[in-house]
Amino acid sequence: GQQVMQIPQYQHVQEGEDFTTYCNSSTTLSNIQWYKQRPGGHPVFLIQLVKSGEVKKQKRLTFQFGEAKKNSSLHITATQTTDVGTYFCAGWERNFNKFYFGSGTKLNVKP
């Protein structure tokens, strides 16, 4: 069946270091979304990528969608303590008409 894998599961960084999380799908996705969930909070939408090879930036965050539309990445430059949380990707699988969430990458930033 459809799977969306995310790595790493955890990442501990020193404030100011960079961070990257990767999302891989077993099938081609129509689009991919990224969400951030703060500790004790609910997922909050960050961005959606639709086109093959698409790259989008939001301040220190850079999002990429792979050429084959099976993988995606989120890169944070110069992390801050406010970046702490779990980052989830969610891929829309056209054949099943639904989003599949990855297992998330939990980011901890040490000041």
């Binding site: 969400y35 939408f45 959606q48 969610a90």
Partner: protein
Amino acid sequence: EAGVAQSPRYKIIEKRQSVAFWCNPISGHATLYWYQQILGQGPKLLIQFQNNGVVDDSQLPKDRFSAERLKGVDSTLKIQPAKLEDSAVYLCASSRGGTGELFFGEGSRLTVL
């Protein structure tokens, strides 16, 4: 605009008891989702409604879980009887439709003892 409302925020029950969660989506959002999020895992879709019709309930344990969205607006998720492994946060989300952004509620945290 007001966000997705959920209640109760927290619920503690004993196994074999029943519980119900309520969700009111953002006004005008046709699609409503119920997700189960077990600690340390990503949200798992339980059921998806388009207006008052079910689009996908393939991962809903129908022997104990039920959900309805009778008037195409708010929705109720029920568990009866609860098992220990049902302990999780139940997230409701809504969207304007299709593949758009999901807006999540604060969630209902269920503990089954």
